[in-house]
Amino acid sequence: MTPTKALDKPLVTAPERALEADADSEIVRRVQAGDVAAFDELILKYRQRLYAVVYNLTSNREDASDLVQDSFIKAFQSINRFGGQSSFFTWLYRIAINSSLSHLRKNRLRTFFSLEQIDENDRPSAEVIAALTDYTNGAERGAMVRELQEKLNEAMQKLSIKHRTVVTLFEIDCLSHQEIAELMSCSVGTVRSRLHYAKQQLQSELQRYVRR
């Protein structure tokens, strides 16, 4: 099985996201009514995805952790202002992305990368890694994967903040063009254009590792 076929399916489909949005609205109503503990459900539900997005924007574990925590705190403090015009997920993501962009602009010159472990149980990525590192022994394979991660992070950090955000949301978090446009308050055309440009840049940076 080629890796491409395994990766065709997005992480979360649109109908699933609609169901999620309904469930979230119910929890949000409970929090707004004073059930503070209900907010924990939202934290547990979104912390991993939010962390993944922020981590891929900052490439730093500590910064990502702080930014995600701050995003949850901001959402908690402002939950009474949340009127349900968009889904809670979009609202929370917007808070996190705005915080991250603001952080990246302030610390433009400070870059400390940290690498996360790749989950061996994640089938699609395991297949990609297997295809890349077939016939290599364990130690060599681990070193190659680390090298790959570093090169990926470097290439991502060379992108502008806006381009990096679009690539992260589309390729890593599997959001649709429409959802990204809503999050970034821009048109779908702008999202497509940024994505195209960003991919060209990444292709050029990672030409040794990827096929055209």
Binding site: Y51, Q69, I73, E116, D122, L132, I172, R208, Y209, V210
Partner: protein, 260 residues
């Protein structure tokens, strides 16, 4: 040069999706939760600015800044409202018309006086120099027998805001009742209490007419922007207004006309 990955190269999209599998270890989430709890508690306990609840009323990104400015404006406005003496008041012609109609329709003077008590304060507040107008009115106020509040009315024009409250508190209940009760009720109450009927003291239709016209003159002077020289000319003639038979009072522009 040896290629970094000997097997088939993945596409860019495939390579990027490897990043989906990057996950922090389990202990990271334990620490994350503890830190988040601490921050959440700090956020709950931390004092909030007095205007921060108002941000809920303002939509948009600049809610906090706008709410701060808005709150400051609200405080300034409330201070302004608490001192109405400096507040410009505009009295519409509709507010004046009922009083003029009452005075003009020949109803007993006591009723006209009540009507005047209700409207004179508003009219006086609308005139740029209330003190001057009060003086003019005090000089030209119609003396209607039995209306004990007349001097008070004229004097209170200098401070129109206190008019109604001070009348009720300072004066005897009877005078206060005259201000608030319709003439018919007042008459029946007077009869029951054995008090003299003030309307009976108006001797003749001529006097009634004179009083009525003088009332009209008062209101006309307030309703039109009468210049100071005109006021000065009218005030000495106040006695003439009552003693001579006036057939007509007219107001046109800043001029008042009296036909004898």
């Amino acid at each position: 040069m040896k290629p970094p990955f000997p097997n088939s190269k993945p596409t860019l999209e495939e390579l990027l999706r490897v990043k989906r599998a990057e996950r922090p270890p389990a202990e990271f989430w334990k620490r994350f939760e503890d830190e988040l709890r601490a921050k959440q508690l700090a956020a709950i306990v931390a004092p909030r600015r007095w205007w921060q609840p108002l941000t809920a009323l303002v939509p948009g990104r600049r809610a906090a800044a706008l709410a701060g400015v808005g709150a400051a404006v609200a405080v300034a406005l409330s201070a302004y409202v608490r001192f109405p003496a400096v507040q410009p008041t505009v009295v519409s012609p509709e507010a004046i018309t009922p009083a003029l109609t009452l005075a003009h329709s020949g109803v007993p003077s006591a009723v006209a006086a009540v009507a005047r008590a209700n409207h004179v304060a508003e009219i006086a507040a609308a005139v740029p120099a209330p003190v001057v107008v009060a003086e003019v009115l005090a000089a030209s106020a119609t003396p209607v027998e039995g209306t004990a509040h007349e001097p008070l009315l004229a004097a209170s024009l200098a401070n129109p805001v206190r008019l109604k409250f001070s009348e009720i508190q300072v004066h005897p209940p009877q005078a206060a009742m005259e201000l608030v009760l319709p003439a018919a009720n007042l008459a029946s109450l007077r009869t029951e209490a054995g008090l003299p009927e003030p309307l009976a003291s108006i001797p003749s239709p001529r006097d009634q007419r004179v009083a009525r016209l003088a009332n009209v003159a008062e209101f006309a002077m307030l309703a039109v922007p009468v210049s100071a020289p005109v006021r000065e000319r009218v005030t000495p003639r106040d006695t003439d207004l009552r003693e001579r038979e006036i057939s007509r009072v007219s107001a046109k522009g800043d001029r008042l006309g009296f036909s004898f």
